[in-house]
């Protein structure tokens, strides 16, 4: 089984889509940003993704919905949720469904790297 090393970032916020891939790339990771869940699902990267960094609140399909869709499709991609909402109730829900972590924006470099590494390690 080929190790999937691709980190996909799905976030409707442009500044996240710009900054986070650059940071992760500086650690030697391959990163691909998507502006919405639908674009990610439709992309070829779906199969190669070893870690999905996923925003919770997005227009159209939300992060937790994408998680459920992936579960339904049996895509066992480790997911790191990032959210700007300090809403506590989403967190246990997504973790219970198998997410690796759920980080609140703004997050530290250490926290995101640790979560990504954990995810990739799992894969």
């Amino acid at each position: 089984m080929v190790k999937r090393k691709l980190v996909s970032v799905v976030d409707d916020d442009e500044s996240v889509r710009e900054s986070l891939p650059d940071l992760l790339r500086s650690f030697g990771l391959e990163v691909e940003p998507f502006a919405c869940a639908e674009a990610f699902l439709a992309s070829a990267s779906l199969q190669r993704t070893g870690c999905l960094i996923l925003d919770v609140a997005m227009p159209g399909m939300t992060g937790p919905e994408l998680q459920q869709e992936l579960n339904r499709r049996k895509h066992d991609i480790p997911i790191v949720f990032v959210t700007a909402h300090s809403v506590e109730r989403v967190r246990p829900q997504v973790l219970q469904r198998g997410a690796v972590a759920c980080l609140f924006k703004p997050f530290s470099e250490t926290a995101i790297l640790e979560a990504v590494n954990t995810a990739l390690g799992k894969g």
């Binding site: 900054s19 650059d22 609140a57 700007a84 924006k105 703004p106 470099e109």
Partner: protein, 815 residues
Amino acid sequence: MEIELSRLIEALPGLVWTARPDGRADFVNRRWCEYAGTRPEQAIGHGWRSAIHPEDRDRLLDRWRAILESGQPGEVEARLRRHDGAYRWFLFSAAPLADPSGRVVKWCGVATDVDERVRAEQAVRAREAQFRSIFDGLPVLVTLMTPDGGLDLANRHFLEFFGVSLEAWKEGWPNASSFHPEDFPVVHEAWRRSAGTGERYDLEARRRRADGVYRWMRLRGFPLRGPQGQIVSWCSLQTDIDDAKIAEAKLAAEKRLLELVARGVPPPVVLEALCRQVEALAPGCFCSILLVAPGQERFLVGAGPSLPDSYNAILHGKTIDPGYGPCSLAVALKAPVITADLQKDSRWASSVWPPLMAEHGLASCWSMPILSSAQDCLGVFAIYRCEPEAPTAGEAELIDRFTNLAGIAIERAQADAELKAREAELSQAYRRLTEAQRLSKTGSFTWDVQADEHNWSEEIRRIFGFDARTKVTMAMIQAAIHPEDAPAVEAVIGRAVEGANFDLVFRILGSGGALRYAHVVAHRIEEITDRPMFIGALQDVTENKVAEEALNRARDDLAHVARVTALSALTASIAHEVNQPLAGIITNASTCLRMLAADPPNLDGARATAQRTIRDGNRASEVIQRLRALFARKSPATEPVDMNDAAGEVLALSSGELQRRHVVLRTDFTDGLPAVSGDRVQLQQVILNLILNAADAMGGVDDRARELLVATFRDEMGHVALSVRDTGVGIEPQNLQKLFDTFYTTKAEGMGIGLSVSRSIVESHEGRLWATVNEGPGATFSFSLPCGSGRAPGENPGARTTEGKAAARQMLGKT
């Protein structure tokens, strides 16, 4: 001798004739023939008779026969026809010629022309007759008296008045007893004085007429003097002034009574005086006045001063019964009822009234209804007599006139009573009005602009601090007005001079420095067209004003609470808005550090990430600034507000929240809208409220898209409007009005202040806020504001006129 005699006879200056003893003429002279135009032989015998005037002939012949029989000389006057047919008066004188034995042998006669004398005598007699007829015909009693007062001559009226002949009078008619005993001494004294001094006299006295009735006469006398100035006789003129005297007495009595009525003397006094006057004018009468109170069936004694008390007592309170007596019947018939002879009047045969009359010695009763000007029966005027008598024409007239007077007196009294009652009512109404004005702190006034006449009620004086006696002038009013409000008041006065109505709130600066707010409303009195005259009310609205200020403060507090509440709902979204760029900043900063630390350093990358850091920092900063502006509590300010900008900022803050709630936001902003004038933060609060309400309304909607359409546009009034349309649960039409009430809410967590605060904000900007039910699902909330003329709440406008009605209402706490 014969010839000589004959010539002598012919020469005599007269008509000469001779006759035989039997009277037959045997000679006429030439002058006779010349005068009569006859020949001598025609006159001889009885021929001369035909020349005598037919009217005189018989008398002359009778006389001639008498002379012949007497044998004595005699004469007679008669008219003799002249030759030309004219008659002239002649004196025929005849004398007998006797023989020595005394036997008449011949009659000698002369006819002398006496025409002028006779005619003069006739003229004198005619004048005398004329004088006599004038004397007798004079409508006064005329006498000529000797200087000592003895009767010399009296005219026919005099003799007829006293029913005596001149001769009888001269023979000793009792002059003194022809005067009324009370008047004779006065007359006698006056005569005595005039006889002494020769001065004329003029006096009034009663004299007894032939029928025994005393009549008032006016007696005037003056002396007639002889050539030496001595009094030769007195001429006396007497005029019957009795009718005039009575009329005068009646008039005087009426005048006295009318004066009493006019003076407002109490009716019992007037009516008693009336009775006494009539009793004085008609001796032997007893007067009674009975009153009928309106709607009453009983008599009340109005007056009866000469009737026995016991009789009056029976009449007082007597039920009006036409079968009882003439007074009752007169009321029923509204016509006079005369009972001339009680004993013979069958109308009262079964009544107890006649015995009652008899008991009091009364025998006749004349009852006259007293009618008002509206022909209502006010009472009865009755005259009683002890003898059975019917009223004479004079008495009937007297009764008529005084009944009329009684009516006037009673009506006047009733009118007085009514007037007093009305006055009392009016003064009570005035007291109540004053009290009501005091309680409502509202004074009333009228103002004659040109005359500077101010009619002020007590309350308006109290509000201004003017005492009740001071005459109010415009200068006084102007001095009492707060200097800041003076220009507005001046403007109103300027327009009032031209007749414009006014409605104004201004401040009064009392003498003690106390400040009062007054609201005045005045309208021109339309009935007065020649000059502006206003009627108005002025209310002391100081308390309202103070309450309103408290209300304004409370509303500001409430608005703040509402704002904070609304913003609290945004906390999560706002955190999201801030966290989002913060995440970018930290991530970029980390990347930047790593790029700089690489070997070789990636400077280009570091620069790009640093720039993104700055951009995200600005983005976070903007959010914070917007937030701070909305949370800040500043006093309201007026500034031009671009509705699109204001709405855009609110949407920027709330878009995260909307997104979180899965609300699809669409905007439809009209470009180029004019700015509105107002408080930006307050208006944004309204927009935010509407947006959050719309989002709340769609919270439970899962079967359709949650769509929010925010649109700006100009409404049909040209105002700038903003509407927020949702696809939520909508509004029940019956709740459309309640929506805006404070503390009305359909939300479990809501306080129900959002919409009421929003409406009060919009209205304080002179705009309006309303809700409509969509044709599809959901509701639309809109508000509109006038362009550029808005006014922020809490601003003190000083004085305003009716042009700012909404604001005035607000000032008065009527919103």
